[in-house]
């Protein structure tokens, strides 16, 4: 065996490739089952629970965690916080991949996926929240693509097209903030239609506000968490400016997340007071609600504050991971755990293992694409020919 062949063999058979390859093969098999036999073969969805893990996790969590794109772009281009500039491209890439995978996951969940464009050509009326969500997600995915496109254009060497794309940055950022405000809140508003199905501690007429405010927290925390992981795995791809600004990004975003978490905690308490649901806090669902509120909202707010005060970057990074987990729990509580809470356990929903495997498959595709892109395109560094 030649040396080159030995190196190739060594390069391809890594633990990452082996694990992600296995997951992708299993995912492809399940995908074939899903699209040939139907939803019933791979899910536990029913008339009681027509929305399951693919909506609760892939869509609601996916959209929330992809909020880093608009949060970071707004901070840098609208509020003039240029010291966070190096965080924009990784955040926009995470947002773009996140939204792409949300749409990809929707093709699995929608019974007739070829009808996904229907809202734009034969919808039932513009007052539909699903129409609003569909419109915003489609437009925002386009915006994220245009925001990220300078990186592949620099990689491919298309200078003139890249210049045009860069000129669009500011209007695209404004559009991104507007569209995100609309659909992040609308995803919460979807559940306003089911006041009798969602547990009163999670149901509130302020659900759209809760979803929007928590999406900002998710975006900030995801940028910190993604940055921590990237520094661990892709440090060799980062230029000096990126490495230098990294601590400032973590401290700045940690401070913002701490304050917004405190505000979020306050409006959630107002939600309980407004509905006079104090007596429900002593029930099993109430205790789970307190775990979410104290463990995943109040605690990270305090830990972020301690981290910022003491400039403890490690504490902030761990808190970011904890907060991301809290957002996942919140979205699953609203869509699955506290939904249909009054039904007998036999009629409650628990995802089929193939639903879980599909979600893992979709997340794995995201990680593989992220890795593919950042190892080739100027995401963590400025391209030497485009230092503007």
């Amino acid at each position: 065996m030649s040396d080159k062949a030995a190196i190739d063999h060594k390069t391809w058979f890594t633990p990452f490739n082996a694990i992600s390859g296995t997951i992708i093969i299993i995912g492809i098999v399940i995908s074939i089952l899903r699209f040939t036999v139907g939803l019933g073969a791979v899910t536990h969805l029913s008339d009681d629970n027509p929305w399951g893990l693919w909506i609760g996790f892939d869509l609601l969590v996916g959209v929330a965690l992809a909020a880093g794109g608009y949060v970071t772009s707004a901070a840098v281009y609208l509020f003039g916080m240029k010291k966070f500039h190096s965080a924009v491209r990784p955040a926009v890439l995470t947002g773009f991949l996140g939204y792409s995978l949300v749409v990809f996951a929707l093709t699995y969940d929608v019974g007739r996926p070829w009808r996904l464009p229907y809202p734009f050509i034969m919808q039932q009326g513009t007052t539909s929240l699903l129409f609003e969500v569909a419109g915003c997600v489609a437009l925002y995915l386009t915006v994220l693509f245009l925001e990220f496109v300078p990186a592949p254009l620099e990689w491919l060497g298309f200078k003139k097209v890249r210049e045009l794309a860069v000129k669009l940055t500011l209007p695209l950022t404004v559009l991104g903030v507007v569209l995100s405000t609309l659909h992040q809140s609308s995803l919460g508003a979807l559940y306003l239609i089911a006041p009798s199905k969602l547990h009163p501690l999670w149901y509130s007429t302020y659900l759209p506000v809760f979803f929007f405010v928590s999406s900002i927290i998710a975006g900030l925390s995801m940028v910190i968490y993604e940055s921590a992981l990237s520094h661990h795995y892709f440090a060799d791809k980062m230029d000096a400016a990126h490495l230098q600004e990294s601590e400032g990004v973590t401290l700045g975003f940690g401070k913002a997340a701490s304050l917004i978490l405190a505000g979020y905690f306050t409006i959630k308490v107002m939600g309980i007071a407004g509905g006079d649901h104090w007596h429900l806090l002593g029930t099993p669902y109430g205790l789970w609600f307190l775990v979410e509120m104290i463990g995943f909202v109040a605690l990270p707010s305090f830990l972020y504050a301690v981290g910022v005060r003491n400039k403890d970057v490690t504490l902030i990074k761990w808190t970011a991971a904890w907060t991301v987990l809290g957002i996942v729990i919140n979205r699953l509580n609203v869509s699955l755990i506290a939904f249909n809470w009054h039904l007998p356990s036999a009629r409650r929903y628990f995802p089929h293992w193939m639903e879980i495997a599909t979600s893992v498959f979709i997340v794995t595709i995201g990680i593989v694409l992220f890795r593919f892109i950042v190892t080739r395109m100027p995401v963590f560094y400025e391209h030497p020919e485009y230092k503007d």
Binding site: S258, A262, G263, T266, A273, G274, A305, R309, N310
Partner: protein, 48 residues
């Protein structure tokens, strides 16, 4: 224990009353938290 209300007037008088009190507490609470969050900013700047 759940309070029983006989009219919407009773319900809103009670819940709005609690909400207004909570808003006053929140105003002071958030201001105090902001002080805690930024308390060391000046010290950190001086050290730099």
């Amino acid at each position: 224990m759940e309070t029983i209300y006989y009219t919407y007037q009773d319900f809103y008088t009670h819940t709005k009353g609690i909400l207004y009190l909570l808003m006053i507490v929140s105003l002071f609470g958030i201001a105090g938290f902001w002080n805690f969050l930024t308390g060391k900013d000046d010290d950190n700047k001086e050290n730099e």
